[in-house]
């Protein structure tokens, strides 16, 4: 087990390196940089840009250096906890990001919990009542969840949340708690606002999870040991819960790796729509204004969150089912 964990941790290093390179490549792709955009904007407004100051800034942030040097500086900076400087906010990136990273984290974790809690009973029902009306209906709703663009779902839900429950539109907490320290009231307020994004982001993941769990459980239910158990007179509930269900639980853990990127993607667009104080909105603005270090750091955060999530799910899976680790070695 220790070797496996060490191996996985070691693999993370090149992974994050490749990701950081891709990220830097992408945020460098737009022609020009923040400063040229700034100059043009100032010119368009009829103001005279302070060229000396801009040249100074250019030098300060190393924007005049070649790509590789800039990249190396950025990566080494990140390793030392310095994520660069946000031009737009005129603050170090870590100060801009601050709470947002944790809020993103909370939303993602809550979404995955939501996916589990909802898909679990539905999948069991669907599998045990295969081809019944309930199964067909639930499958159809699941497909509908997969097919509806979640930003639209977010809009509609915000509208109805406001109509029916009086929850104010957007945000992840009451306005009075914004910027305040963590307290019980703030926590409750976050909970009150959290459910909309969680439901919206979780819908498609839930649909996918239901389908996979249902298929797994159906496979398991057709196996001989189930027939044997039934023949020996095991009560149906026990026959379902004790073995087949446990066997089909693997995707619950294993799929985090697949679902987490989806959840984080969904969180980005939904947070733009709902103007959540998570990373989505800020990433969007940073991308548009070519605030490259901010955008890059956000992308890195998201990637890091995903990689860690996948790692955790793999470790949990390996702990739960030793065969998986063996299988992984056998294919080599």
């Amino acid at each position: 087990m220790f070797r496996y964990i060490a191996h996985r941790l070691l693999i993370m290093i090149p992974t994050m390196l490749v990701i950081s390179f891709l990220v830097f490549l992408i945020i460098q792709l737009p022609p020009g940089d923040y400063l040229t955009t700034l100059i043009e904007e100032l010119r368009a407004l009829g103001e005279k840009p302070d060229l000396a100051r801009i040249a100074e800034m250019k030098k300060e942030f190393g924007l005049d250096q070649p790509f590789i040097v800039q990249y190396a500086n950025w990566v080494f900076g990140m390793l030392q906890g310095d994520f660069g400087f946000s031009f737009e906010h005129e603050l170090p990136v870590q100060d801009v990001v601050g709470d947002r990273f944790w809020l993103s984290f909370i939303v993602s974790v809550a979404t995955i919990l939501f996916i589990w809690i909802v898909s679990f009973p539905i999948a069991i029902y669907s599998a045990t009542h295969q081809y019944s009306w309930g199964d067909h209906g639930l499958t159809f709703i699941g497909f509908l969840g997969l097919a509806t663009p979640n930003f639209l779902l977010a809009l509609v839900m915000v509208y109805f949340a406001n109509e029916w429950f009086g929850t104010e539109i957007g945000g992840l907490m009451d306005e009075k708690y914004v910027g305040a320290g963590w307290s019980w009231g703030k926590f409750l307020s976050v909970l009150e606002h959290l459910w909309i994004p969680v439901v919206v982001i979780g819908t498609s993941g839930t649909a996918a999870m239901i389908r996979r769990l249902r298929a797994n459980l159906l496979d398991e239910l057709q196996k001989q040991y189930v027939v044997t158990g039934r023949a020996k007179g095991l009560p149906p509930a026990k026959l379902l819960l004790k073995y087949p269900l446990r066997m089909s639980l693997n995707p619950f853990i294993a799929d985090i790796g697949d679902i987490l990127p989806q959840v984080i993607s969904g969180a980005v667009i939904v947070s733009v729509v709902l103007s959540l104080p998570t990373t989505g909105k800020m990433l969007y603005e940073a991308l548009l204004s070519q605030d490259m270090y901010l955008a890059g750091s956000f992308l890195m955060f998201l990637a890091f969150l995903t990689v860690i999530g996948v790692l955790l799910s793999d470790l949990a899976l390996a702990a739960l089912d030793p065969r998986i680790r063996l299988a992984g070695q056998a294919t080599k």
Binding site: F143, T148, P149, Y284, L302
Partner: protein, 415 residues
């Protein structure tokens, strides 16, 4: 000679063997009252009788893989229905401008944010055929909402196969033929109008052209990349395979949408809408090949060990021929099924990007661009019909999913 009912002992060599077995049977029974009647079949001996097939069996066993797939797919009702819906939709994009009752860009400033108009048949207790009532406009002073009421006196009959607003068919030929047009002097906004008084139905019909093709082109790109990269990984194996596998893992572990956003934001603003369109399809395709590459690789690895691959190898076929001629066709069906399942992601991706304003931009019309106008919460409250472009999105995505499911089931016809 071939008369099998003839029981005469013939002179054929079979006669002797037949007689012998007859005798042996007699001995085994011990005391038989009378020797069993001598019987020899004079039918020519055909060792393959067991293997002769009925015509139906023959049809089944001789059918090619694609034919079997087709038969199996036909049994999947939902997949067939979805396929038909998709076929109709894709055919419609050739004739979008004719199907749309209005020119997509036509602005009716008297009918801004008009709600969907109903088609009526009976006026004053008389059957008139399909017609619409005129709309009367009033600004609600409290909500500032534009409200329209039907003017029950003015009717305008819907015309069919008519000449209406002119357009350029496929951007080339100037025409004014429509399948359906509003009556002379009347309006027919079946799905309402947007903030510039443009007919939503026409915009949705024409927006289908971009929304539907973007998925196809994007999937073609990812298909090409997937086959080439997956093929290289599966064929060469070793360290090439290892590197490609790691790369795929990394790309799969990255949330796609932020990457799409970053790439889309990187498209120069100065590009023409058409270039942007191709840029977006490239972006969608470039990040999607990983799933296909993985499928290609694993299939290739498995099939490489099959007997027919070995046989081809022994007969001296070159690797290129083995892959192209023997290996690829045998899992092409799987690939097509996975490609079908990949299209919805792209359609939704385009929709999301355009919704955010990072994708296609207004002179181009896609469902995502249309939905971007529904971004405001007021729209949901006041003008909900602006969200209607989501309906074709959902239908298309559902149809592709069902069709892909059916194809995937049918892809293995020998099971």
């Amino acid at each position: 000679m071939s008369n099998s009912k003839d029981n005469q002992p013939p002179q054929a060599p079979e006669a002797e063997t037949g007689a012998e077995t007859g005798r042996a049977g007699d001995d085994g029974r011990g005391m038989a009252s009378e020797p069993m009647k001598h019987y020899v079949s004079d039918a020519p001996f055909d060792p393959y009788t067991v293997e002769t097939l009925t015509p139906e069996q023959e049809r089944y066993y001789l059918a090619g893989q694609w034919k079997l797939m087709w038969w199996k797919l036909k049994r999947h009702k939902l997949a067939v229905a979805s396929g038909i819906i998709l076929l109709v939709m894709y055919l419609s994009i050739i004739f979008s401008e004719m199907i749309a009752p209005y020119n997509m860009l036509n602005r009716d400033i008297k009918h801004i944010y008009a709600p969907p108009q109903g088609i009526h048949f009976v006026h004053d207790g008389k059957f008139v055929g399909p017609f619409t009532y005129a709309l009367k406009y009033r600004l609600n002073p409290q909500t500032l909402k534009r409200e329209y009421v039907e003017d029950r006196t003015k009717i305008s009959r819907v015309r069919f196969f008519c000449s209406g607003q002119s357009y350029e068919w496929l951007g080339l030929i100037k025409m004014n033929f429509h399948l359906v047009c509003p009556g002379n002097g009347g309006t027919m906004f079946l799905l309402g109008t947007d903030r510039m008084g443009r007919d939503m139905l026409s915009r949705i019909v024409i927006g289908a052209r971009i929304s539907l093709t973007i998925g196809l082109i994007g999937v073609s790109i990812s298909f090409l990349l997937g086959i080439v990269i997956g093929g290289i990984a599966g064929y060469y194996g070793g360290w090439v395979d290892n590197i490609i596998q790691r790369l795929i893992e990394i790309m799969r572990s990255f949330p796609v949408l932020p990457l799409w956003m970053a790439l889309a934001a990187a498209l120069p603003v100065t590009w023409s809408p058409l270039l942007i369109y191709f840029g977006i399809t490239m972006i969608l395709g470039l990040l999607d090949w990983t799933g296909l590459a993985r499928a290609v690789r694993s299939k290739l690895l498995a099939l490489r060990e099959e007997d027919f691959a070995t046989a081809a190898q022994l007969m001296g076929a070159k690797p290129k021929r083995i892959i192209g001629r023997h290996l690829l066709p045998s899992f092409m069906s799987h690939l097509i099924a996975s490609a079908t399942l990949a299209i919805p992601t792209m359609i939704l991706g385009e929709t999301a990007l355009s919704f955010l304003g990072l994708g296609l931009r207004p002179p181009l019309t896609s469902w995502g661009v249309l939905l971007a106008e529904a971004q405001n919460i007021n729209v949901v409250a006041l003008y909900p019909w602006l969200m209607l472009p989501v309906v074709p999105v959902v239908i298309t995505v559902l149809a592709f999913n069902f069709l892909g499911d059916g194809l995937r089931d049918a892809a293995d016809p020998y099971k």
